[in-house]
Amino acid sequence: MKVELRAGKIVGIEADHKNLATGEGLCLKGLSYIERASASDRLLHPMIKRKDGTFQNASWDETLELIVTRLGNIRDRWGAQSVMYYAGSGTKGLLNSVSIEFWRLFGGCTTTYGDLCWPAGLEATRLTLGANKHNDPWDLCNARLIIIWGKNPAETNIHQMKFIDQARENGATIVVIDPRRTETAEGADLLVQIKPGTDGALALGIAKLLIDGGNVDHDFIKAHVAGFEEFAAAAAAFDIDRVVEITEVPAEAIRLLADLIGRIKPMTLCAGFGMQRYSNSGQSMRALISLLAITGNIGEAGAGWVYANLQSHVFDRVQDPLALYPPAPSDDPVRISLSTARIGRAMLAEVDPPLRAAWVERGNPITQNPETSKVLKAFRALDFVVVVDQFLTDTAREADVVLPAKTLFEQSDVINAYWHSYIQFKQKLVDPPGEVRPETEVYFELARSFGLEKLWRERGLPGQGDQEIEAYLERRLAAVEGIEGIDLEALRRGPVLAPNHESIAFADHIFPTRSGKIELVSGEAEERWGVARTANYTPLAEAATATSSYPLHLLTPNTKNRIHSQFNNLPSIKVLSPTTKIHLNPDDAVKRGIEPGMTVKVFNKRGEVTIEAAFDHSLRPGCVWITNGWWITDGGGVNFLSDSRETDMGHGAAFHDNFVEVRR
């Protein structure tokens, strides 16, 4: 993005046209950063919680002294690993890694593995294709068939819509598979309203139809696919009657899907992160990718698996998803032992040493991690909590000390992406307002107070001031092999595509899997995750029947108005989404005597929220949805209802294995 400054004030913000993926225009969240940076409720001072539970502004000296004393005492008594370091994904950039360096110097800490977002899909992709990469975003306009499976780019990836629109204008057929009639579905030729969590069965059923009908690319399979026979045998169990029963998709729609996939090339399959947040979704994602593999839709223009594109992640020694997994036991001072998906329960269960303190930055786990009641309990059981944030979030409210965080305008950094392949410079434009200090400077001060400055310097970590930050970034860039010529000067001129990035991913048909081919059979899947060697379908861990106490399947998708729990406090966003709402199919609502606008209780055995009811006339009956990210202080908190449960692979969070009842 490009920012316009007038007299040291940010007055304008626009897309940088040099980025071909996002250059058409910013999304509303990006535009609202102007408001965010100067929001009236932004935290501008360190705050310390008083005995009566209210926060009081404090000086940095007093705040740092308190942190050093408390963390020092806890470390002395319980050991450094009694401190939890929790970092979310609220800010991306090279500087983020400074934090963990501090904790190493501190003597260690306990931190999380897995991820709330996307690991089941990442792992499914890694197991099948060997790497998480896809064609350039703009290549989508070359597709003749686009299947948008469990994704709603109109709200979550608005820039992709431009390329979908272009493809449609070029005559492409668009299919959306989603229990909801999403905004994306409005432009589709066909919306398949599948029963949530049965995607794997649908994909395998389609695969069987394709194989039986001879509509597979045998040459491609022979050259590039490993395990086709075993996969075909597994898919054979998914005859159409069984698939209809499982997915509740009509047989003619399944046949139509198979016909489209068999007939129209090239096909791109865009899969969402939401659909891999089920207890069975890694296997479902493997089944989806197999549809591309058996039809030869990989490594071509307009074709492929558009899930995650990590081609710009050149700075990581180990890429996601492997970087998200707990390492084999080591003497590293950092104990990586808490499952993010089960953070509340995991924190409470931790021993030797138990957790006594927490440091949270870039995240809002109270609102966003599953099973809020347990997360709250775990945080409230701690002796000392520090939260770094721009606003007083639900998590910050639980803190003993809140440190004001910078915005993206207030410290330089280098960022990459996970859809396009640009490496970009995030240039510092203004000094942080009030007493805000970037996290790197806070850590540096803490390191000094703990007597660690010498080690800090030895490790080349940045101290105070912008010059040190830029020098640090230069050093980091210089240390990466294979990106020669990419330095801050080059990045200042504009976005730079990652060197050696592939515009058409896997065009060379080199797949970094064990066999070097696309693996429809994976021994590693079985060894690492205990799942079947081929993609398969298993019912959700939290299955429900219409007669159970909680018959409604709760989906908690993202909204265009927020990134998870961020942004809704801003007036220009709040006006678009003023209240938390649960959307019901009118059939389900009428049965319960619920009318639009009523206040209703949404509950299951884990918890409840009381919110406003709204009708979604085209929602799949039996499903209800609430956008995630509402703060508890907004009456929201959808994760009071979700369970601490991991996905079948990747240590993701199975948010969507979630059944509720609604009562007026």
Partner: protein, 442 residues
């Protein structure tokens, strides 16, 4: 005629609101003001219809309603077609927000004036598009300095003949839902809007009071004239002054009240004020020095003032048409004049006509009964009741019925907005389907 034109591709617009946020950034509008908003047809996703997002701001109409309607002549149309509101001339009467079907003019509470899309003159001066257009992430919203407006026949877009500067495109002119694999149930939808009378009154009480008092004063003068006497100048003047003073209360900028007469050429508000002022002054003159010609002139001015009032409330696209409304000031005044001058025939004609128009509005309940009693039975009582006090009670009851009717008018004032247009069109379309379904089942 080529002129400034927004282009909106309904196949591309997802209603993301980036344009609205960009507008807010650029123009630093307050949190309660949106120069640009998204109105969605079928936001509840009825399975029979597609969804359309109308990202609209001021359309800089070729034949706008705001400019002729503005009493303060605060609107101008620039040669390139840009409709500009001169905020320094605005008196904050908010009338433009009544007549504009696009909700383009917005009232700024803290400034007391209206404001609206300026089409980003600074940006255009630098050869850049307006901020909303630049920010559209899907290329749905565009802008042309010299473009051809075009509005296809689609539900949800309000068009009152103002020739808006927008070219809306959509590949198909039907509004179809995507093909779905589930046959969704049909449910009745209701988009009825009702405002409690007291709530409507709370919002517009200065106008209610002024128009009611103006009606009474014309009746007062007319009855006196017919009965060959003059009005009592002191109370008459006191009431008139008070009414005019109170009417200034609803202005955002009362000190600029004098500007309200600047647009006699096209504004019914300017005409209303000028005719009423003339009526008021002439009536006072007539009270002091009775003269037949002056008396007739006064009455003509008074009736023109009332006609102007009714014209002010007659807005294209409004929910309840003003003409024929039982609370029209001209009808109300004629009825009261007939009542007080004991013209039985006129009274019956006006009483029955107004009863019919009242009933046609569909109001029900105890007040409906009271209204009809006030129009039919109470007037008849005046012939029956002998005592002065009895007659006074009857007249007071009739006056209450009249005031209530006029208060209902304010509660029923609903002018066309994009939101009302989409609701209206959705209900109409849905009703059409009902007929189809019924026909099939027969």
């Amino acid at each position: 005629m080529s002129r400034v034109v927004f282009t909106l591709d309904l196949d591309r617009c997802t209603g993301c609101s980036a344009c609205a946020v960009a507008c807010r950034n650029e123009n630093e509008t307050g949190p309660d003001i949106d120069w640009r908003t998204i109105t969605t047809f079928n936001s509840m996703r009825l399975p029979e219809f597609g969804v359309l997002h109308f990202a609209l701001s001021c359309n800089h109409c070729e034949n706008p309603s705001c400019q002729p309607g503005c009493p303060a002549a605060a609107y101008t149309i620039d040669p390139d077609g840009v409709v500009t509101l001169n905020v320094d001339h605005c008196i904050g009467c908010q009338y433009c927000s009544w007549v504009c079907p696009y909700e383009a003019p917005q009232f700024n509470m803290s400034l007391g004036t209206m404001e609206k899309c300026t089409l980003c003159p600074d940006r255009r001066g630098q050869g850049r598009d307006p901020a909303c257009v630049t920010s559209c992430p899907v290329g749905a919203l565009g802008f042309e300095e010299l473009g051809e407006p075009e509005i296809p026949a689609l539900p949800g877009f309000p068009d009152t003949g103002t020739r808006p500067g927008i070219r809306i495109s959509k590949r198909s002119l039907t509004v179809d839902a995507p093909g779905m694999t589930i046959a969704h149930s049909r449910h009745q939808i209701s988009t009825s809007e009702t405002t409690p009378v007291l709530e409507g009154l709370r919002a517009e009480w200065p106008l209610w009071l002024f128009t009611s008092v103006a009606t009474c004063m014309v009746v007062w003068f007319a009855v006196a004239l017919i009965e060959g006497v003059s009005v009592l100048v002191v109370p008459f003047a006191a009431v008139g002054f008070a009414a005019m003073l109170i009417s200034a209360f609803h202005l955002g900028k009362p000190k600029r009240m004098y500007r309200a007469v600047f647009n006699f050429k096209t504004s019914w508000i300017s005409r209303e004020i000028i005719f009423f002022s003339a009526f008021f002054l002439l009536a006072c003159v007539h009270g002091l020095w009775p003269h037949v010609t002056v008396g007739k002139m006064t009455l003509v001015c008074g009736l023109l003032a009332l006609f102007s009032i009714d014209m002010v409330y007659s807005v294209r696209g409004q929910d309840v048409p003003m003409f024929g409304h039982s609370a029209m000031t001209l009808l109300s005044a004629s009825f009261l004049i007939a009542l007080l001058t004991h013209s039985a025939l006129l009274l019956v004609i006006f009483g029955l006509f107004r009863t019919a128009t009242y009933l046609s509005r569909g109001r029900r309940g105890p007040w409906m009964l009271f209204r009809i009693i006030g129009l039919v039975i109470l007037p008849a009582l005046l012939w029956v009741v002998d005592s002065t006090s009895g007659q006074a009670v009857v007249i007071v009851l009739i006056a209450i019925a009249e005031l209530r009717d006029r208060a209902e008018l304010y509660a029923e004032l609903r002018f066309l907005t994009p939101g009302r247009q989409v609701d209206r069109d959705l209900v109409v379309a849905n009703r059409g389907l009902d007929i189809l379904v019924n026909n099939k089942s027969q």
